[in-house]
């Protein structure tokens, strides 16, 4: 009995220690965003200080947060939707009509994602210039779809493979055999997997920092460009940077926290044996 209590105590302390340690840098950043610049760079970190909103005001004065945030939202959601639209049929085909080449195709797809984006910057920039896609949400959306497609297909492929064959077979035997009915059956069954793939894609698009900086100017710039306007100027900037960063990560943090159950459910589904 006592052993159990001791064990529970240790586990609780350990669990919370880990959680707090992992969360601390973010916490510290949020706290810094309410300090003055002078407080922010103090050698002895001020735990008690008079909070101020001046950084948020300065940030909003300089750059309209909502403009950038809106761009981020549109690009993240749009590219995820588009990626799913293309990934679902492909993953379906690979999961249920595997050929000898399926595995190789999957691997090769993944390997194309392993090439550093910076190597292909100029060619893509030239293409976008000629297509008039520079500084457009459309262009950024397309690039993000391209980036997320391999991961989406791979994850969906894994989830589809987990669908209990018996159910689908039963449907086929019922004389269904109709492609669309299978779709109507398969999709609901693997919805958690699809959702969690979508969530991952949204997070990846939101945080994508290379193309979103290099292919945009003023109109389509998302939050990553917003951050780049507060990092590393001349003069003191920690507090303002913290404010800008807090603004930039808050939507996705909240989104991630709300949807973590979905994420969890989807991954559980995928790992069930």
């Amino acid at each position: 009995m006592r052993n159990n209590l001791l064990r529970k105590c240790t586990v609780t302390i350990a669990g919370w220690a880990v959680a707090l340690l992992l969360f601390f840098p973010i916490f510290w950043m949020i706290v810094t965003s309410f300090k003055t610049e002078g407080d922010a760079i103090a050698r002895i970190p001020h735990l008690f200080f008079s909070p101020t909103l001046e950084n948020y005001r300065a940030v909003q004065e300089r750059a309209s947060y909502f403009h950038f945030a809106w761009n981020s939202v549109v690009v993240a959601l749009g590219s995820t939707l588009l990626a799913l639209v293309f990934a679902v049929p492909s993953a379906y085909a690979m999961a249920f009509v595997p050929t000898r080449r399926t595995r190789d195709t999957l691997l090769w797809m993944l390997s194309t994602k392993m090439m550093p984006s910076v190597g292909v910057l100029v060619p893509i920039y030239l293409i976008f210039r000629d297509l008039g896609l520079l500084d457009t949400k459309t262009g950024l959306l397309l690039i993000n779809t391209l980036m997320n497609l391999p991961v989406a297909i791979w994850m969906l492929y894994t989830f589809f493979k987990e669908v209990p064959r018996e159910i689908l077979e039963a449907a086929r035997m019922d004389g269904a055999g109709r492609f669309h009915e299978l779709y109507n059956l398969l999709l609901p069954l693997s919805m958690p997997g699809i959702v969690s793939t979508g969530l991952l894609a949204i997070i990846l698009s939101w945080n994508e920092a290379f193309w979103s900086l290099n292919l945009t100017a003023a109109k389509a710039a998302p939050l990553t460009a917003f951050i780049a306007s507060f990092s590393s100027p001349e003069g003191l900037f920690y507090a303002k940077l913290s404010a800008a960063s807090t603004l930039a990560i808050t939507p996705i943090l909240i989104f991630g926290w709300i949807s973590q159950k979905q994420l969890v459910r989807g991954l559980t589904f995928g790992a069930v044996k």
Partner: protein
């Protein structure tokens, strides 16, 4: 369900069409209204932020021009604007560039030449000559300077007094070494001298070029052979490394301009050799703890006065691929005019005006009164001659920023190696040998001349 099939087929096209047609319609409407939109790319430095704020005035006077801002940190801005200029992407109507880009881009025709397009009241002759030279190529001016800087020596008058030292009117590096030793007191968190150590062609290399120049060194000889392994470079870099290792702050290899400024204004440095633009901040009691005791002296000299202080400016230019050159020209004229300077003086006080660009600023009695460092800034800039940066003859222009396209990568690599020597990972000899090899490699690759 049929619709589903269509959607998959034409998903791509449907994405394209509405956006693009909307765009065309919008553009047509906009053109009918006669409103032009300017996309301005600039650095996120204080003076540019002020420009962004005050641009409301410009928009009031020019109701048909709308301004859109792309404000980025220097590194990213440079990569963005260069890629765009080189590929004629037409993303920006106004770009903020420095003495590295202006002549090179001008030569390649990526910028609109400005001489004959300026309005009558602009007073081109009012611009300081070294700046004008630095922003031109082949006699044509390609960018209008927004603010400029040189380097000088900052020191703590109170600490000097306490130690019985006097800063001479023209200090030498021997003096500096002596002073650093006397002032160094790490136990109290006070370091004899603070200098840039952060690697980068615009960070530590800006300073190291000047110290190498003044010790008689140069980057390339007349045959374009790199001189990084020369005795002058050895003496200069060894001096720099030893000085910082003995009397510099800890972690100095992470300190760029910002970090050093923070250290000095918090009273942690006895001396600091860096950009003249820091003077305004150091002198401002709201931000600096040492406002009352900071002294200014020219940048130190060793063997020769040539190239002992650097020259840098941020200037506004119009890319030749811009779709609105007339409006863009109007804007950059406004932002670099005497009226703009007066506007800043009205809003933020004379000490906050963008320094180093116009003679008229330095004749303004109110400015000289509120900024005791102004005279020294002016003389430092005037003494910095980018066309004759070193004692020995050289085939290039530029004091700390050699005007060749390959300079950023050369400067970065050399800066990294010297930072490694500063940290103690490699010896100065090794660093300079590797720097020489790296420079030669890049040189062979790009085959540069200018």
């Amino acid at each position: 369900m049929r619709i589903g099939v269509h959607r998959r087929y034409s998903g791509l096209m449907i994405r394209f069409l509405p956006f693009r047609s909307l765009l065309y319609i919008l553009l047509a409407v906009v053109e009918m209204r006669g409103q032009t939109t300017l996309t301005i790319a600039t650095v996120n430095n204080g003076d540019m932020i002020v420009m962004q704020k005050l641009s409301k005035e410009f928009q009031r006077e020019n109701a048909d021009i709308k301004l859109e801002w792309v404000v980025l940190e220097e590194k990213i801005l440079r990569e963005r604007t260069t890629t765009d200029a080189a590929t004629h992407g037409a993303q920006f109507d106004v770009v903020t560039i420095g003495p590295l880009e202006a002549p090179i881009w001008g030569q390649r025709g990526w910028l609109t030449p400005l001489n004959d397009k300026l309005s009558a009241g602009y007073d081109l002759g009012d611009l300081l000559k070294p700046i004008r030279d630095g922003a031109s190529y082949g006699g044509k001016l390609y960018a209008l300077p927004f603010y400029a800087e040189s380097s000088l020596t900052y020191y703590r008058k109170d600490l000097f007094q306490k130690a019985g030292l006097t800063m001479p009117a023209k200090p030498t590096y021997d003096d500096i070494a002596r002073f650093a030793k006397a002032l160094n007191d790490p136990a109290k968190g006070l370091y004899g001298i603070c200098l840039r150590g952060k690697p980068g062609w615009g960070e530590n290399m800006a300073y190291i070029s000047t110290i190498s120049n003044t010790f008689g060194g140069r980057w390339f000889d007349q045959n374009w052979t790199p001189q990084l392994d020369s005795p002058e470079w050895h003496v200069a870099v060894s001096f720099y490394v030893n000085l910082l290792q003995k009397y510099g702050p800890p972690g100095v290899s992470s300190n760029g301009f910002n970090e050093s400024l923070t250290l000095f204004e918090n009273g942690r440095c006895g001396m600091w050799i860096d950009a003249t633009v820091a003077a305004g901040t150091l002198y401002d009691a709201r931000q600096s703890k040492v406002a009352g005791t900071v002294g200014f002296a020219p940048a130190p000299i060793a063997v020769t006065p040539h190239g002992a202080q650097w020259l840098w400016f941020w200037a506004l230019a119009v890319p030749s691929s811009s779709k609105n050159p007339a409006a863009a020209l109007k804007f950059i004229e406004w932002a670099t005019s005497k009226d703009y300077i007066r506007l800043v003086a009205q809003t933020n006080g004379w000490a906050a005006v963008p320094p180093g660009t116009r003679e008229s600023t330095y004749r303004e009695p109110e400015y000289l009164a509120s900024a005791p460092f102004a005279q020294l800034t002016y003389s430092s800039i005037m003494a910095a001659d980018p066309l004759h940066p070193t004692a020995k003859p050289v085939p290039y222009t530029g004091i700390q920023c050699i005007v060749i396209p390959a300079f950023p990568t050369i400067g970065d690599q050399v800066g990294q190696l010297i930072a490694a020597a500063l940290v103690g990972n490699i010896s100065v000899d090794r660093a300079l040998k590797d720097a020489q090899a790296a420079t030669q490699r890049v040189q062979r690759r790009s085959g540069f001349t200018n």
